[in-house]
Symmetry: C2
Subunit: 223 residues, 2 copies
């Protein structure tokens, strides 16, 4: 059985969970708070980051969400998520990088710092200037999603791909943390609401992170 080391608001772990679930791969969730820097966890991943996925029976440990997704894409045929011509696949990977790096750096990362780490670890109030800036940048990213969905049914083209999973994973964490204002983003909202009602997404939406509560629309599939 695969064991996924993660915490509920890690967007990279969420991307992996969506992929595993779409592909019908069973896994157990193991809670890991990377900021605790546990020795056993550092032995699994010297970079000290979630997600890590392990299959003890087969002696396999995989690190880095993109490496993990490529691995399951190569080994499990069901529900291909990096599909099409080499150029299509490059477009999928470009968008995965955009959400993993730029959206995370602009929005999810700062929100996690202000609303999760400061609450749970540092016991400080969030910095409202940082929150405002991350919401402004979120708005620009939502504009870009609107633009893509104006031109294509799914973010990277004609079919659902890892780009959609990566974007939904980041957005869902940002939304949990109150960082997303959907108003004025009809295309992004309708694309995301299709996602929210998928069976792969339901378990994520029902989970809660310690003392942090999401806004009321968060898990509402009709919102």
């Amino acid at each position: 059985m695969w064991q996924l080391y993660q915490f509920p608001l890690c967007p990279f772990s969420r991307k992996v969970r969506l992929l595993l679930s779409e592909k019908g791969i069973g896994y157990e969730l193991w809670r890991e708070n990377p900021w605790e820097e546990r020795d056993e966890f550092l032995a699994r991943n010297p970079a000290g980051r979630t997600p890590v996925i392990e299959n003890p029976e087969r002696g396999i440990t995989l690190v880095d969400s993109r490496a993990i997704c490529e691995y399951f894409e190569e080994t499990v045929d069901k529900a291909p998520m990096i599909n099409g011509t080499a150029a299509n696949r490059a477009e999928i990977r470009r968008l995965v990088a955009l959400f993993d790096e730029n959206f995370f750096g602009d929005v999810t990362g700062p929100l996690l710092h202000e609303r999760m780490k400061k609450r749970i670890i540092l016991r400080q109030p969030p910095d409202s200037r940082v929150l405002r800036e991350s919401m402004k940048l979120a708005d620009a990213h939502l504009d870009y999603i609107d633009y893509l969905i104006d031109h294509r049914p799914w973010l990277a083209g004609a079919t659902m791909s890892l780009a959609d999973l990566a974007a939904a994973a980041q957005l869902s964490v940002a939304d949990y943390l109150g960082g997303i204002d959907w108003s004025g983003h009809e295309q992004a909202r309708s694309w995301y609401s299709v996602f929210k009602s998928r069976p792969s997404f339901r378990p994520l939406l029902s989970e809660r992170m310690d003392v942090i509560h999401p806004p009321s629309h968060y898990a509402d599939v009709n919102a």
Copy 2:
């Protein structure tokens, strides 16, 4: 003909250049300073980052160094760089992420900021505290390279892979900027010196970035 948009000290562009050269793919270099945020460049890559590679005849634009490397790996058989079993390939991609993200975040990124951006753009002196911290972190990364090379001929296993190209690309920029102290790292040094004498590496080592000069050992294949 492929056109690569880059600047001489962009480590991600260097990784792509090493891959193209190992695979025998011809390309032109187009100078791009991403911090100028040129409209034509943002039209190619809304994320505004180098590298971007374009083939105007075929109407292809590729963005993100990992997406670019996967594309050429899929389309050009020569000199496979993401090779082996699915688990081997995952190990290669784990290490690529480690160098692209952790080494860059700890070492190359701060050095580029202090020694390139402050010099060329902000006209400020570097912050010696940041320089010291990045050199300390570089030392820990070199320890990890020593450890890997103690166990394997190349970073990810028995053959040269994209992991070696990613590591050498980051290290070469950090070395150019005077951020690497090789003493006490015999395994890392000998692995890197093999690299330095490869034909794919020579053009990188002979290039210079504007007013910034590398230390004397930088391009010396025997150093």
